[in-house]
Symmetry: C2
Subunit: 426 residues, 2 copies
């Protein structure tokens, strides 16, 4: 008998009726002959409600206590899911992250999973129970403190459980039908991908596709766990994330598509450090200071310096939420580094074209830039990886840019097939 791990996000668990529907779905998997382990997020908006309560008692709550608070959310949803399953005549037991053996480092608020020791879960499975595990949380190896994994953490919990239990598949239930060639809310003709490789999914997730959390895909790739992304609101097959771009094509298979999809991201801001002296160590000083302030940088562009002044400009993008901290950090650095000024721009968007095929097909960049030009979209920054090209554009141009690229690379479906059901879980 195989083990199936399922994950349900907050939007699939918004109220008692939703929980009962999820319970029926879980029981169906059990009836089909599987051992079933389920990772759940907190119900609906309850995490935001808890954050709001915290803000009311303290503007800057200690991270340890914030984790203690937020983990109550999954505790509530997992117990209710177990009750709903029991009401269907099946037996279920719920476990906190700590009880489930989800061992993390001790970074409150964004802990990393170090190990999963699923002894209690295995026992519960052996006793015939359906197992419900609180997503998003664990216990730190050194200090035995309760930790949380950050937004999207429940995806990672599910994949980590699947790896530790040697599950056949990790099913991520969400509010869309799978992974699409673009956001169906922007491109109605977006197509659902039947399969996508880990590498492509990583680039999609890193480029703004919200359907799967980046770290869960990394974890799945490392442990070779197939992820099935599908809707909790329908019984359609979703998208299977599996395989590498370096795998040989299966015999008799058609050539893989060149482009997997077009992703976009409106959550970044751009900072330009103007007039940086063009000498050794200046960029290092800037980015070391930002790293010490725990700020994640995405794209970095440095132009050649103007010969006359020997000054250069360095631009980079970062999450808008880190913008204020970054500007303060850089301001303190101004005298030492000796740059001229700082520019800050939140009204940007990032468009990314992702596909394993671009390694062997020259001219992808040219076609991409041409499509953007014909749509009247100006390009602010460019960055590339082996299987991705990203550009920064004006935020108002994002929808138009995505649509234009999707069409230019022949990704449009003949008819609309995407259905978007609700918000997005964590």
């Amino acid at each position: 008998m195989g083990i199936v791990v399922q994950k349900y996000g907050g939007s699939s668990l918004s109220d008692a009726d939703a929980i009962k529907r999820v319970a029926r779905r879980i029981v169906d998997a059990k009836k089909a002959g599987n051992d079933v382990v389920v990772a759940v997020s907190a119900m609906g908006d309850s995490t935001d409600e808890l954050l709001d309560l915290a803000a009311q008692v303290s503007p800057l709550p200690p991270a340890r206590e914030l984790d203690m608070l937020l983990t109550a959310g999954e505790r509530i949803s997992m117990a209710l899911v177990a009750m709903a399953i029991s009401d269907l005549g099946f037996t279920a037991q719920s476990f906190t992250g700590s009880q489930a053996g989800v061992i993390t480092d001790d970074v409150h608020g964004k802990a990393k999973i170090l190990d999963v020791t699923p002894g209690r879960i295995r026992s519960a499975i052996d006793e015939g129970h359906i197992v419900i595990v609180a997503g998003f949380q664990g216990v730190s190896q050194q200090t035995k403190e309760i930790t949380t994994l950050g937004r999207g953490g429940t995806d990672t919990t599910a994949v980590a459980l699947a790896a530790a239990l040697d599950a056949d598949v990790c099913e991520i239930y969400t509010d869309v039908d799978g992974v699409f060639t673009a956001d169906p809310r922007i491109v109605p003709a977006a197509r659902k991908l039947a399969t996508v490789t880990y590498e492509e999914m990583l680039e999609l997730a890193a480029s703004g596709a919200k359907v799967l959390h980046l770290r869960s895909v990394e974890y799945a790739r490392r442990h070779n766990i197939p992820i099935h992304v599908r809707s909790s609101f329908s019984t359609l097959e979703g998208t299977i994330v599996t395989g590498s771009i370096n795998d040989p094509a299966p015999e008799g298979s058609m050539e893989a598509p060149i482009i997997a999809g077009v992703a976009h991201d409106r959550s970044e801001a751009k900072i330009t450090v103007v007039g940086v002296p063009d000498k050794v160590g200046e960029a290092a000083a800037i980015f070391n200071a930002l790293a010490e302030a725990q700020i994640n940088i995405d794209m970095i562009v440095q132009n050649v310096s103007a010969a006359a002044t020997n000054l250069t400009d360095i631009s980079f993008t970062l999450p808008t939420s880190d913008g204020q901290t970054a500007m303060t950090t850089l301001d303190e650095l101004k005298a030492r580094v000796g740059f001229e000024s700082l520019l800050y721009d939140e009204s940007i968007g990032k468009i990314s074209l992702i596909g394993a095929g671009m390694r062997s097909h020259p001219g992808i960049s040219a076609k991409f830039f041409t499509a953007l030009a014909e749509a009247g979209v100006n390009i602010g920054m460019i960055s590339t990886s082996e299987i991705r090209i990203s550009v920064i554009v004006d935020q108002d141009d994002v929808d138009r840019a995505v649509q234009a690229c999707h069409t230019a690379f022949d990704l449009d479906a003949d008819e609309v097939e995407a259905v978007v059901y609700g918000g997005s879980g964590r």
Copy 2:
């Protein structure tokens, strides 16, 4: 430096403002030079809200999962209290029952504390933290499952922590100013007791006084922990529960008052088993069956049988919430025991007069019954202990009966001093 344990119930933690007020109170105790350990209940009505959610997904949720669900309530309040303390510039750490070492038996929903192993709490105290502990919950010794202690359990958590930490005092903060000679909502002239013995407090709690939970008083007596019952809404001294009715009176002290107070209880029902054959083993059969159904019986009265029929009636009282189960249980017993019929009455109330002095003062019963008679209150059943007399009366007569007894035993204060602030916590 002494350790003070404090307990705050749900009505003292109803919202963010209430939590901030409690945090200031806790910090005051720390500033006064104490090490402070605090047991908290869930916020306001949140336990009832969780129970309501459970009822929506399952009419009969598994007890294990119900405990998992309900313990989320204290997790939320304890983290928020710790945050509010931190916002005042003091350092606090919160701990679940399990983390705090509250070891219980494995009876979900009404577990008993077997032991407290406060290693983590002691470490946190040694590091200078104010410690916040989730009340009402623990972890079972054998199965390592999360358990809850039942309604009022946070009082017991606080007392158990005080005993394990060898605290100077256990302060129970509530929404009244202390223990009164009667419920001030019924008797405006009720007086606050400065002190009361464990035995008297036990009888008061068992007789319907809701200010302290029975098991917490038992625990405090066994470990000789003084309890200070006081209001979280004022700085008045409350009531100290300490000492035994068998202690010698301190030298030079006035004689202890004869009557500590008048308690009442509207939460019981009366069942009469009519026409029970008066032979050996009949009563045993009845009460064994009820015990097997986990029903707690309070008062039992059996009259002498009528000579002509050799039949007797047995009446007993029990929590109204167990009434339906008891009637069903007895109905199944009817053929075997051979009684005639069952009577069920929920419209009863219990009035209890409690005081250590009644052991050495004859005539208390006569005065009690006379006061009731003069108030026109009919007595349905009578039961007594060493320091208590209880009667069952019509529920509509409860207020009048309490008032009459309070006056008859000269308990009325010269002026009204009681203030009642809100609902009651758990």
